[in-house]
Symmetry: D2
C-alpha cells in the first residue's frame, strides 16, 4: 500500500501499533477530522487492540487498514495471514471487512469512511490483501457525502421542553459530545445559562463538554450508583446531554436516582439509550438538541448561581510534593493557551479541581480506562496544534504506571521536536489499583509497586530531554524552566505515594 506513496499525505511511523493508534486518535479528536491508521495485518492489529478499544469509547472516526497476506495464498493461511479479519478487531469496531474482490477496495474505503463518521463515530477495520494493491480499478467509485450528524427537531424535543418548563430544580449533566461537535460548547453554555441550573460533568468522560471555570459548573459526578444519586437530592429533573447514564466504576449499590427525581437523556447513540437503567431517552444530535431546547423553553428567573467552592491555595508541603500541590503550581505557571492530555487515573479528581478547563478542545484523555493513551495522545494533539495556527503548548500529565505502557512514544516526540511538557507523577506504585483495593477492602495483594524505573533516562534514550524534581521548594523554578523548553521535555516529579480514595 505504501508503494509510490503520494506526497500530499502525511505518514507518521510509530515504534508500536498502540502508539500509532493513540496518536491518530488524539489527532482526530483535536482536529475533528477522520484519521487513517495502517497496521501490519493480524500481528499489528493484535498489538493495537487496547487503543482500538479506546478509539471505540472515544468515538473517534478512524479508518484502520490492516495488510493481509496475498489473496492467492489465503486459503493456506500462510505466515502473517489474518485468519479471521471479521473477528480480529471485534467487538471494538463499527464495521469489519475484507473486500470480496480487489476491484472493491476503493468503494470499501468509501463505505468505511461513511461508517466511521456517522454518529456515534468510531473505528472501522478493513483487511486488504497485499496483491490487491497491484490490480487496476476499473473506475473509481462516485464521490458521495454521508451527513454524519443526526438532527434534533422541536417536535421530537417537545416532551423535554415541557419537562424542563415544569421542573423546579433541574440539573444538567453535559458530556464530552458537546466538545466533539463543533457547535456544541457554546450551545451547552447558552442552555445552562437560560436554565440557570447546576451543571455536572459525567464520570470518566474523555474531555469536558462544559467550561469547568463556569459559575454554574459543579464538578465531576462520582462514578458509583449511590454517591452519584445523592448529588441529585435537591433536584427534580436531570437532563443528561451527550453522555451515557452513567459510566459507573466501583459497585456501590443504591437507587439510581433519589425518589421523585426524573431523568432525560439525549444521545446520538442508540446503544447508549437502550443501556441506560433509568430515565427517558431521545436519540438526537446533542448540540442541535441544546439549541432547539434553549430556544423553546420559557425564560427562568435568573437564579444567583450557587457559589462554587473555589479550592483554597494549598500550602507548600514540607517534605514531599503532593499531586494536589503539583497541579496547583502547574495551573499557576502554565501559559495562557495550553492543551492538557492526561493519564493518571488516581489523581484525576485533584487535577480537575486544580486545573479547570475553560476553553473547548483543550483537554484530552481516553474514555475506555485502557492504559496507554495519554502519552501518545500528547503527540497527536501536538501535531494538530503545529498544523493549526494556535500552536498551543501541550502539557501531558502522566502516572508512572500509565507511562510505561507506551514509553516508545517519546521517540515520536523527539523525532518531530514537538512542543510538549511531559510531567511524570512518580509515586512508584499503581495507585489506582491500590485505591481500588482499599474500596474493595482487599489485603495482601502482590505486586502493586513500581520501583527502579528512571523514565527520564528512558526518554533520553529516545532523544528527548528531561529532568527531575523532588524538593517542594524547587518545584516552581524547575517547572518554569521546563515549561519554557522548546521541544519535548520530560519532568519526573517524585510525589507523595499516599493512596487517594477511589470515590
Amino acid at each position: 500500500m505504501l508503494k509510490e506513496f503520494p506526497d500530499d499525505f502525511d505518514y507518521y511511523l510509530a515504534l508500536h501499533e498502540a502508539v500509532a493508534v493513540a496518536m491518530a486518535d488524539a489527532y482526530s479528536q483535536a482536529t475533528g477530522n477522520v484519521v487513517h491508521v495502517n497496521l501490519h495485518t493480524a500481528a499489528g492489529s493484535g498489538n493495537a487492540m487496547g487503543n482500538i478499544q479506546t478509539a471505540w469509547f472515544n468515538r473517534t472516526p478512524m479508518i484502520i487498514t490492516a495488510g493481509q497476506q496475498t489473496r492467492e495464498m489465503l486459503l493456506l493461511e500462510p505466515l502473517l495471514a489474518n485468519k479471521n479479519p471479521y473477528l480480529q478487531a471485534s467487538p471494538w469496531v463499527k464495521w469489519s471487512y475484507e473486500p470480496a474482490r480487489a476491484e472493491d477496495v476503493p468503494a470499501a474505503f468509501l463505505r468505511a469512511y461513511a461508517a466511521a463518521v456517522q454518529a456515534p463515530a468510531g473505528p472501522v477495520y478493513l483487511s486488504l490483501p497485499m496483491d490487491d494493491m497491484d490490480k487496476q480499478c476499473p473506475l473509481p467509485p462516485a464521490h458521495r457525502k454521508v451527513d454524519p450528524r443526526l438532527s434534533a427537531s422541536l417536535d421530537q424535543m417537545q416532551p423535554v421542553v415541557d419537562a424542563l418548563d415544569k421542573a423546579k430544580h433541574p440539573a444538567l449533566v453535559i458530556g464530552a459530545a458537546l466538545d466533539q461537535l463543533p457547535d456544541g460548547w457554546n450551545a451547552g453554555i447558552k442552555l445552562a445559562e437560560k436554565l440557570a441550573c447546576p451543571v455536572w460533568a459525567p464520570p470518566f468522560e474523555a474531555r469536558p463538554g462544559f467550561p469547568e471555570t463556569h459559575a454554574l459548573y459543579q464538578g465531576v459526578l462520582p462514578a458509583a450508583i449511590k454517591p452519584l444519586s445523592e448529588k441529585f437530592s435537591g433536584n427534580d429533573l436531570i437532563l443528561v446531554i451527550g453522555a451515557p447514564v452513567f459510566k459507573y466504576y466501583p459497585h456501590v449499590p443504591g437507587d439510581y436516582l433519589p425518589k421523585g427525581v426524573s431523568l432525560i437523556q439525549i444521545t446520538d447513540s442508540a446503544e447508549e439509550a437502550s443501556r441506560a437503567p433509568v430515565g427517558d431517552s431521545y436519540i438526537a444530535d446533542p448540540a442541535r438538541a441544546c439549541k432547539v431546547i434553549e430556544q423553546a423553553i420559557a425564560a427562568r428567573k435568573p437564579v444567583a448561581p450557587q457559589a462554587v467552592s473555589t479550592a483554597e491555595a494549598p500550602k507548600q508541603p514540607d517534605d514531599m510534593i503532593t499531586a494536589d500541590y503539583l497541579f496547583y503550581v502547574i495551573n499557576e505557571l502554565k501559559p495562557k493557551d495550553f492543551v492538557i492530555t492526561q493519564e493518571s487515573f488516581s489523581n484525576m479528581a485533584k487535577l480537575k479541581k486544580r486545573i479547570p478547563i475553560g476553553k473547548p478542545r483543550s483537554y484530552f484523555a481516553g474514555a475506555s480506562g485502557v492504559l496507554g493513551y495519554g502519552l501518545p495522545a500528547a503527540i497527536g494533539v501536538a501535531l494538530a496544534e503545529r498544523e493549526s495556527e494556535r500552536k498551543r503548548k501541550v502539557i501531558c500529565l502522566l502516572g508512572d504506571g500509565a507511562t510505561q505502557y507506551v514509553v516508545q512514544s517519546f521517540w515520536n516526540a523527539a523525532q518531530e521536536r514537538l512542543n510538549i511538557l511531559f510531567v511524570l507523577l512518580r509515586n512508584r506504585e499503581y495507585a489506582i489499583l491500590k485505591s481500588n483495593s482499599k474500596q474493595l477492602k482487599a489485603k495482601n495483594l502482590p505486586s502493586m509497586d513500581l520501583p527502579g524505573i528512571d523514565t527520564v533516562k528512558i526518554a533520553q534514550g529516545y532523544g528527548c530531554e528531561g529532568g527531575y524534581v523532588r524538593d517542594p521548594r524547587q518545584l516552581k523554578e524547575v517547572l518554569t524552566k521546563a515549561l519554557s523548553h522548546e521541544g519535548p521535555y520530560i519532568l519526573q516529579v517524585e510525589i507523595d505515594p499516599e493512596v487517594p480514595k477511589l470515590l
Copy 2:
C-alpha cells in the same frame, strides 16, 4: 417461563418456530406494536432462523426469548443447552444476550425492548436460563421510555430543500418506511403532490409506502443496476425516502445513475446510508423529513401528472388461467376493505399491476427473500384485523413453492377460524428459479418442478376448507364463493406454467 401464565397475555402456539416468528412479525407490522416470540432454546432458534432474517429486513420490533438449560448445568453443555447464545442468532439480531444473573432478567427485557424499537427497528434475542424464572427479583426495574424515532430538522434538511428547489425534473422513490411510520403515508403524498413529480417504489420493499393508485405513481423500479438507472434518464435529481439504494437482485452491470443525475437518500439506518454506492445520505426519520421538506420547498407549477398507462382489462384465456388474469379477477371481485399478504416472487410484477394498493397498512410481504413468510403472515395480519375494528378480509396470494415452506400455518388459521382467503397459484414449479436461470442463461438444471402436491388436501388435514379451479370460465364464480366464505379457505388455482421474465 410459561408457569402461572398471566391472563392478560395472548399466547399463540405454532407447529413450527418459523410459523411463530412470521405470525408475530406480521402481527407487529400490521399493528405497529412490539411483539414477543418465545422459542425453544437453540433448537427452536435454529428452526426459526429463516424468518428471524426476514424480521431483520422487515425491521420488525421483535423480542425473541429462547429458553436456556438450567444455569446450574450450563458449563456441562447438557442436552438442549444453547452452546453460544451470543452467536446463535447472529448476524440477524440487533442485540443478543444472556443475563449474567437471574436478577437481571427484567432489566434485560427493558433493554431488549429499547433496542428492538429504536430506528431502524429489528429483532433482539434473549437467552433465559430456565431456573432464572424461579428466582425472586429484588425490585422491578424502573419504567422508562426510549423514543424510537429519529427527528428531522430544517437545518439538517436544508441541503435537500435547496437541491429540490434547484432541480428541474426531480423524482421520488418512496420506501416501506412511510407505511411503517404512523404519519408517513400522508406525508409522502403531500410531498409528492407539492413536487408534482413522478413517484417510484423501490425494488423488493415489504409493503408500499405510497398509494399505487395515485396519479403520480409510476410503478416498482426494476431490481438491477442498468435497467433501474435507465428509468431515471429524464430526471436530474432523485430523492429516495425510507429505502436502501437499492436492493438489486440479478447483476446487470451499468452505471448506477445516468450521467448528470444526482441522488439524495433519507434513511433512519446508518448502515443503509454507508452502504449506498451513489448519492448523498441523510440520517433522519423519513416521515418527519417529508414534512419538513414539504413545508420548506418552493411551490412548483402544477404539472399535469404523466398519464400512468392503466393496464387494459385482459381477455379471459381460453385454456388455462394466467396469473395476470387471476389477479385481474381478484381485483374485480375483492371487497372494498381488504388486506393482501403475498409470497409469489415470480408473479409479483403482475400482482402489482393488477391489484394496486390505495390505502396504508393494506399489503404485507417479506423483505428478505427468505421463503416461508407470506402464509403465516396472513395469520398474523388476520389476528390484528380481528382485534381492530376494521375486520378486513385478508387475501393471501401464494406460489406453491413458498406455500410448502410453512404449510403448518394452516393449522393456526383453522384453530382461530380466521377470515382469510388463501389463493394458491399452482404452476407446479419453482418459477422464480426458472426466471433466474433464464436470466443467467443456465441450462440443464435439475429439480425445478413440483409435481404431485395437493395443497387443498393438506390444508384440510389441518382443519381448513378449500377447493380447486382450473377452467378460466369458472374462475369468477368459484372466486366469488371463496371470497364470501367465513373462516379460512384455500383456493388452488391451476395456472399457466409459463415462466415470466426476471426483469
Copy 3:
C-alpha cells in the same frame, strides 16, 4: 452451480431446507459416507439451521454449500446476499468459509472435505459467490487423503488397562461412536464379553453402539445427575467409550458418581473430554481403543450375566392403544431385516424396551433434541437401503408434534416411492413438554395440546397412502397390512394421551 449438472451425481430436491439437511444427514449416517447439501444462500441456511445443529451433534460429515450473491455486488449487500457467511451457521459448523478468489473454490472444497470427515466429524459451510462458477480454474488441486480417524495405542491405553485389571466391578457405557465406526460394533461386543461386565447406553445417543439384545446389556442410563449416578452404586470403575460424560437433560442435583467409583472416558472429541465434569479422559479412536484394551486386559472369570429382566408381553388394552402396546405389536410383526428411525421423545423409553436393536446400522435418531429430524431421516435411510443390497424396510416412529416440523418430507417419500412405514403416535399433545412440566412441577401452562390435525390426509396431499387405527383389537391386522405395503404408507395410531414420566 447446478448448470450442466453431471450425470453421475444424484440430486434430490426437498420442499424445505430442513428436510434436505436431515435427509442428507441420515443418508450419511446410514452409509458412512460424506454427503453434500446445497442451500439457497443465507435464506436457505436460515431455514436449515435446526437440522444443521442436529448434524453437529450427530457428527455427520456434511459439506454444506450455500450460494452467495455475485461477487461483483457483494459490497452493496444486494437481495439475498449472505451478509456474514462466517457467522451465518455459527456455532454449529466446524469450518465456515467464503473463498477469497473464484480460483480457490476447488481447493476450498478439498479443505472442507478434510475438515468434515476428521474425528469428530461434523458439518462445514462454504459460501460460494454465484459468478465464481463461471470462472476458469487454472489447475485442479492435487488429490490428497486425510485420515479421518485417530489411533489408539497400547502405551496410551496402558493406564486404562491397568485400571480395568484392578477393578472388581467395572461397567461399560458404550456410545453411538461404535456404530458409526465400521469396525466398532464387534469391537465393543468383544471387549464387553472379555470384561463380562454390565453394559449401558448413555442417554440421548442418536443410535445404539451395542446390541440391545445382548445378555450384558442393561438399558439406557437415565438423563439426570442423581439417578444416573445411582445406577453405578455396585461398581468401582466405569469405562465410557465414544460418548459424552453425560448428556443430562433435567437437572436433578446429586453427586456425579457414587463415592469411590472412578470413571474413564475414551473419546475422539477433545471438546467432549474437556467438558466432562468427572473422570479421566483419553482422546483416541473409540473402536481402535476397544481392540487395544481387549487384547491387553487379563482374562476374567466368566461371570454369569446378570439376567436382564425381559419385559413381559403386555395385555391388549381394552379401550385405547398405548405406546407400549403399539411398540410390542410392531416388534412382533416387523420383518426380520428392518431399520428404525424415530422421533417421539416422550415414548423413547418404551420403544427401547419393546423394540431392542440387535444389529448395527439399524436405528437412527437425532442427537440434538431439535425437532424435525426423524421423518426426513427415514427418507435418507431408505435411499441408502435402496442403493445397497440389503433393501431393508424402514419403520419410522413419530410423535405428532415432531411430525409437524417437517411434514413436507412426505413428498420425497412419495416421489421416490420409498419403502417406508411411517407410524404416527397421535396423542394430540406435546407429551414431552408435559412430562417436563410435571418434572418441574409447573402448572397452568398454555398451549400443550395439538387438536385438529389429520396427518394421513396431509400425507395424501403429498402423494402418500395411509390409514388410521384406534381400536386395540384391530391393531395387528391393520399393522400387518401396512407393513406389507409397497412404497410409503402412513399409519396414524390414536394412542392413550397419558403423560409418561420424564425420568
Copy 4:
C-alpha cells in the same frame, strides 16, 4: 482474585500485558508446563492480543484469566466491563468463557486447563466477574486428568511405513513439535538415522525439532512455494512430522512439490491437516509416530550422510560489524550450556548458519511473526532456568525494531537480576520490511528507518547495565566481558545496515 494471595504461587508483575503474556509463554515453552496469566479485563486483554496470537501459534498451554466488572452491574456495561468476553480474544484462543454462575468458576478452571493442554495445546480465555471471587464455592470440583497427547499406533501408521519402505530417496521435515514433546527429540534422531536420509527444518518454526549440528541436517526450508519445492527435486517421498505444510511467507508461485514426489504429514492438529494443499495427512502424536515408524520400517543400507557444507569462518570486517560476523563470534565465545531466544527476522538465516543448536530446549522464538516476543521470552526462559538445575546462560538476539515493541521487559530482567545477555543488532532500520519491499519490487516507501534510539540508555532507565560496540576489532573483547556479566546486560552492536535478501 489477588486477595489473600497464596504463598506457594509465584506472581510476576509486568509493565505491559504483552510482556506478561510473552514471559509466561516462554516460561511454559521452556518448562513444558501450563502457565497462568492474569489480565486486566478487556483493557489488558486488548493490550495483550499480539502475544496471545503468538501463544496460539506457539501452541502454548496457557490459561488467561481476565477480570470482569462486578456481575451486578454487567448489564449496564460500566467502566472497564468486558463488553463481549466471548469475542474479545477471538479468533486466537481455543476456548473463551465467562461462567454462568460464580459457583462455576473452579470447574471452569478445570475445563480451561483441559482445553489448554490438549493437543494441539494453546491459550484459553476465562472472564471472571470480580464479585465472584467473594462467593463461597459449595464443593470444589473433583480432580480429573485429561491426557493431553494423541497416540500413534502401528495400524494407523502402516501406510506411512509402507510408503517409506518403498521410497528410494525419502526426506524428513521435522518441526518444533519434536522439541515440545518430552520424548520427541531423540525419537526424531533415531528415525532419521534409521532412514539415513536428509532432514530439513520447516520454515518459521519457533524452535528446532532436530539438532542443527547433526550430519543429516540440511537447514531451514525456504518459505515460498517454488524455492521450497525445488529443494526436493532429488527425493521421491517427503515425510513432514509435527509441522504445517508449509508456512509460506512471500508468494513465489510454482508447484507445491516437484512432479512425482509425494508427501505425508503427521500432525496432532486436525486444522493443520485439513489446510495442507498437498500430501496425505495423519493425525497422531508426532513423537509417538516417530517411534512406531522407526520400529516398523525396514533397515536401510547406511548411506554416507551428504556432507553438509560447513560455513567457513568469516573474515573480521574492516569497517562495520556484520550480522554474520557477530553470530560467528558469539558462537565462538558462548558458554557450553546456553539458551537462545531471538527476534531478528531479517538475520534469522545467518543466525541459523552460525549458531547451530545441538541440544533440545535450547532455542525459543515466536511462531506467529508478531513482533514483541523475543525480548520478554528471554525473561521467561531465564526464570525457568533459574528454577531448574541447569542455570544456563540466556543469550537474547534482537533486532532494534523488535526490541522497541516490549522495551518495558528490561524492568523484569533488572528486578529479578536474571542472567541474560541481550545483544541488540542496531541497524537503524526495519530490515525485514526492506527485504520484503525488495522482493516485491516496491519503491519510494516511507518510514523504514529507525534513527535516534539508544536502547542501552533505555535499559539503564529500567535498571539494567549495558554497553556498546561498533568496531569489529573490539567485538571479541567486549563480548567476552558481556558474556561473563552476572545479571542482565544489554550490548548494542552497530551493524552493517545492508538489507539481506528475503529468500
